[in-house]
Amino acid sequence: MHPPRLLLDTGSGGKASHRLIKDFFLKHFANEILNRLDDAAILKISGPIAMSTDSYTVTPLFFPGGDIGTLAINGTVNDVAMLGARPLFLSCAFILEEGLEMEVLERIVRSMAQAAAKAQVRIVTGDTKVVPKGAVDQVFINTTGIGEILAQPCPQGHRARPGDAVLVSGTMGDHGLTILATREGLSFEAPIASDCAGLGHLIAKLLKAVPEIHVLRDPTRGGLATTLNEIAGQSGVQCLVREETVPINPVVAAGCSFLGLDPLYLANEGKLVCILPEEHTDQALRIMREDEYGQNAARIGTISNDHPGRVVLQTPLGGHRLLDMLEGAQLPRIC
């Protein structure tokens, strides 16, 4: 039926393209909106909506805890959800390299379908391009998501206020170190895995109980340090983080120490930062810890007026220093 590797003419728009859509994408993504195969999807949605888009490229395609497919679904679902929205619909565009193993494509599509089902979002429109060998690295995926805003005013980066508490939903750096270790063939004393997960349900529960939440954001590329700097800048406040309260898997901490990396700058794909009025801290932590993706939730800091736009780290010794944004990539040291 299908040759074992993707041929360039599969992207021509003819019969080969239709077979690919039917046997791979419709097979796994099927729903009444997508099944129509019209040029555009018709969606029923009311009230203000949140919309976000992201393109995904990762080496290797598969890693402990996830793959490029789960990233492409959960990443966009999370971006939409961070605005306090319930993610509903996704578009999905693939750029595929000629010669890609069909088995690899199907594995990715299958895990996308599973992630979408778990997040209760539907893929309602899509596109596929096949480009000559070498023009892309195996698979690039773009997804765009939209969702209904649940709370008004919705959580946004500029709403952090002095006195607010800063929470995270779990351990930091797992995804970033997992990708690096898989890529470089490193192993540690215990296995580590990406935290890749959709946080839509957790956020819905949080907002239902605590609609007063000021900021929600997922600390992806650049890690917790970068995300907090963005928020401190947008809100014009200082964020003080107490280093020893930031949850870090001991295996990740040991791996980072060995490689000269800082887990606060490593990417997460299934965690959120939540900033809210201090009096709601315990309630929010309880809700997070009851959820499968928030078991290690912790309060890590406080918002104040001291150094507006800055993130200050209180070290375990009690010293204070700047926790700046990352300049470029983290590099292992020379000596």
């Binding site: 780290l313 010794l317 009690g318 010293g319 204070h320 220093r321 590099l331 020379i334 000596c335």
Partner: protein, 364 residues
Amino acid sequence: MNSINPLTGFKDPVLCRNLLDKIHAELGAPLSFMEVCGTHTVAIFQSGLRSLLPRDLTQVSGPGCPVCVTHEGEVAAFLELAKKDNVVIATFGDLMRVPGPRGRNLNIAQAEGARVEVVYSAFDALILAQKHPDSKVVFLGVGFETTAPTVAATIKAAAAQGIENLLLFSMHKLVPPALAALLTDPEVNVDSLILPGHVSTIIGLEPYRFIADQYGVPAVITGFEPLDILQALLLIMTQIKGKQPRVVNQYSRVVAEQGNPRAREIMSEVFEPSDALWRGLGRIPQSGLALQGEYARFDALRLLDVRVEELPPLPGCHCGEVLKGKVRPNECPLFGKACVPANPVGPCMVSTEGSCAAYYKYSL
């Protein structure tokens, strides 16, 4: 005796607090210390120690970051090497942005067509040379006694395997001659030295003896955890109080009295001491390493006919004074304005272990 968890034991907050209290209580007159190694500079900032030490205990960051001490003339020379036909430059990532004359760097050279590969070790350069048998792969050798042995071992391996297209531009530098130059300089005024732990694993204690014997300056070989640094400062204070300057090994769990004779043997088989140019310090006799004997055939400068010229410092840049501890990074007029990590003017802002970059990144 209880064993110490190497990950957490040497940063134990309670033990650190005890030592800090002791330092605060016992520090009488103002005291300055120079940490020679960039890893110490970063450790002092990163752990928050800097904000906890007494005001009268002044930290001066010395010339211990290999990227920072790379001379303008050396940068100009490797940019020249990158222009040569059929040359692939293999380099540590940190050197990519180090500015040379007129702000040029390897990133710019690469955009203009030079072939540049970032490697993580000298052995990666050897593999690169095997992969490109028709090109000359020039490895940019920077670093102190810590890095030089593995580079020497790589050159030995290349010689043994008959890989003749791997070349080395040796900008390696030796720590003790630079310390001698600093201590002789009348403008440099430091009361004590925190000596580099990693370099000392190779050279041991002996090469530092002159610091106390000739210059009467206390010096402590120090590990990189907060407790190591605090203990070293207390050891210095004890010596100053007792007026008995010595070279002490605080980092004895890693540094042997004799260092690593095997590493030194490989180093001296491949290299011989030579005069070297240091940014900010100028020419220091016998402070560099040049390929010697049969290994001289791997010398990139000789084979590709490039010379290191003694160029003037970059205009406005105070990195030279910073490296001598004469000017603090934030006292340089360019600091944080024209010179930032994203667009560094001087090398102390380029390297993550440079003192300007550490000030910029960690200072409140």
